[in-house]
């Protein structure tokens, strides 16, 4: 069984083409079933995210896989093949594993180390498995990739630190307040970053989001979008007093939140910290507000610096992550080689078993007078001798260090024991491999 991969990604195709070839907005399960119906591949998985559409197959005929997948992509997305073929990339055999491991580790992502990709890879495999389009080869490959993804995340800092301003703000809020449940967020001005930040804060558990803007309609629209409530612009002072987190993004040319405003808001019973994120340019909040003991004031440049530092840290972790990928790739290749030796091992066992049976058959006339117990002992004894003779060659064949040596050894064994049948082929590993025998056809 051979591995083959064909796809497009943010590295090879522009966004409009990626959108046309996207499976994630449709039913990926249906897509993988459609692919299985049109292709000769025994196993297939469709991985589709906003940055990539990739088709992984395990096929006995890799030479036809490429054409079959291109035809499928064209028919499924109703696109002429020449509109997307220049943007396709493909890998085969161990390069497929290397690519998938890098994808699962977040090394091939647009934002290196982004955390969602591992879950997306798992979902893609799950969707294919549910439709019975996977088998032992892709199952092993994808399981291995999940492990690589987990290792890279736990052993390196590749996925650490926020790499977008809005996410960095939400992470900072959690570092100040711990859980955001029950925290009140005030959004002043309805810009893009403030919208994203409000959404991130909501996703992190902030329960109450108030939005105010000079243009009431903008505030109301944003309130609907993020599930918050609208506060009239002249209620800003009161809203400041009730907020734990303030996000400001107005187009005002002068600061709209002064030190006096904040000191008034903090007066009274308030003891908790106040986190102010000022993403407006020019700034909405007086710089001296940051001097107040319990106020943490961040502007867009501060967060940009945080993001840049995090990106640099991630970049410095790439080498360690690549080393993990390389190490796991070596182990996966060893597994593949041991699998490649199975054909010869199975043929060798069949050969020995055939000789044993033939010899027992030949002696049948002379053993005819023996009681059944004695004959059973003969059968057991000869079986044990064969098993013991085969232990070492089996292990040696499975543990060969590289493909070249393996080819030489298997060829030698095939010749020495005349293992090839009349057609020149050995037994299929699928016939003896328990894992392989679970291969299924799509529903």
């Amino acid at each position: 069984m051979h591995l083959f991969l064909l796809g497009v990604s943010h590295k090879t195709a522009p966004v409009d083409l990626r959108e046309k070839l996207d499976f994630s907005s449709r039913d990926v399960g249906a897509a993988v079933v459609a692919l299985a119906a049109r292709s000769s591949a025994a196993e297939s998985v469709v991985l589709s995210t906003c940055n990539r559409s990739e088709i992984y197959v395990a096929s006995a005929a890799p030479e036809t896989a490429r054409e079959e997948i291109i035809r499928f992509l064209g028919e499924y997305h109703q696109l002429p093949a020449d509109s997307f073929t220049p943007h396709l990339f493909s890998f085969s055999e161990s390069d497929v594993a290397q690519h998938l491991f890098r994808v699962a580790a977040g090394l091939d992502s647009l934002v290196v180390g982004e955390p969602q990709i591992l879950g997306q890879v798992k979902d893609a495999f799950q969707a294919a498995a549910e439709k019975r389009c996977t088998g032992p080869v892709l199952r092993k490959l994808f399981d291995w990739s999940f492990n690589v993804g987990k290792r890279v995340r736990s052993e390196t800092a590749l996925g650490e630190g926020a790499v977008s301003i809005s996410f960095a703000a939400a992470q900072l809020a959690r570092k100040i307040f711990g859980r955001l449940q029950g925290r009140r967020v005030l959004v002043v001005g309805a810009g893009e970053i403030s919208t994203l930040t409000a959404q991130h804060l909501r996703a992190h558990g902030a329960t109450e989001v108030a939005i105010t803007s000079r243009t009431a309609a903008h505030a109301q629209a944003l309130a609907t979008k993020v599930g918050g409530h609208w506060v009239p612009w002249d209620g800003l002072a009161n809203a400041l007093a009730g907020a734990d987190i303030i996000v400001t993004a107005t187009g005002s040319q002068r600061p709209i939140i002064t030190r006096a405003h904040v000191e008034t808001a903090l007066r009274g019973h308030r003891r908790d910290p106040l986190f102010i994120l000022d993403v407006a340019v020019p700034r909405d909040v007086e710089a001296s507000v940051g001097e107040i003991e319990q106020v943490f004031l961040y502007n867009v440049d501060d967060l940009q610096t945080v993001v840049q530092e995090n990106l640099s840290k991630r970049a410095s972790e790439i080498e360690r992550a690549e080393a993990i990928v390389k190490e796991e790739l070596g182990r996966f290749a060893a597994w593949q080689r041991s699998r490649g030796a199975i054909q010869t091992v199975v043929a060798l066992r069949d050969r020995f078993e055939a000789v044993r049976r033939a010899e027992l058959q030949r002696l049948e006339s002379r053993m005819g007078g023996l009681p059944p117990e004695t004959r059973a002992v003969f059968d057991q004894l000869t079986r044990l001798i064969v098993e013991k003779l085969l232990i070492d060659p089996t292990e040696q064949l499975k543990a060969l260090p590289d493909e070249e040596t393996q080819a030489a050894y298997t060829e030698a064994v095939n010749r020495l024991f005349r293992l090839r049948d009349e057609n020149g082929s050995t037994a299929s590993p699928d016939s003896a491999d328990d894992e392989t025998s679970s291969r299924r056809r799509p529903r």
């Binding site: 736990s154 052993e155 650490e160 630190g161 900072l172 959690r174 570092k175 910290p273």
Partner: protein
Amino acid sequence: MNLIPLILYAAAGIAYAIHFARRDAAVGRTATTLLLLGVLSHTFVIGMQTMEVRHVPFANPSRAVSTFVWLLTLSYLYLELTTDERAMGVFILPIIVGLQVIPVLSPGIENRDPVLDSPWFWVHVSSLLFAYASFGLAGVLGLTYVLQFKEIKKKHLGYFYTRLPSLQILDRMNSRATVTGWAFLTLGLIVGVVWTVEAKKLAPANSNLQDIGLYDPKVLFALLAWALYSFAVLARGAMGWTGRRAAWLSAVGFVVVQLNLVFISYFVETSHTFQ
């Protein structure tokens, strides 16, 4: 005997430091296991000493320090196991290891003055030692709060930012440890005063006991600690002294407590000894 807990505490300390630097979960679990083994062996040591002298050994300063270390370790483990937060281990273990060196180098003999054969003495000392252990935790939590606060306030989100819990959690844990410590300190001091007055009547010839008064350095430092922590508790509730101010108070308070527990016991002449 105190050497085995010390070795296990030191090994746990190294593991906590590696865990803090590398954030490797397996190393963190190893650190906790080593600390649990350390506190178990320490429990065995204190148990053996209790059986030997037929009372909990804390009249001798070294054994009092050993009992304090044991209580501090238990309090820390309680905090770690209930919050699943190991970051403080790297700060608390140096205190544990440093103090456990004292009973190893100077084991001392528990030769208690018979005047101390009273359950009130047990309540007095154990309450104070538990209070000091709570203040030890509060001090470390305060220190970590200040480190985290500085990084966030100065916008240098670096080493501690990625490793320590949120400011709010550190502040809340600091508050709990301070209030618990203050309650036990108050109880220990009240019991100490009441029992001393009674004991003075019962043992008029005991010069140490008769000399105990407000001007004794050990009593003075205990009262200073009580005043400081009373202010910390009051200021948090009434004046909103949370966060960094509360953290600094905890750190200063713990220095006072350590001076009383170690420095005054060993280097200052005090009538507060009953050996």
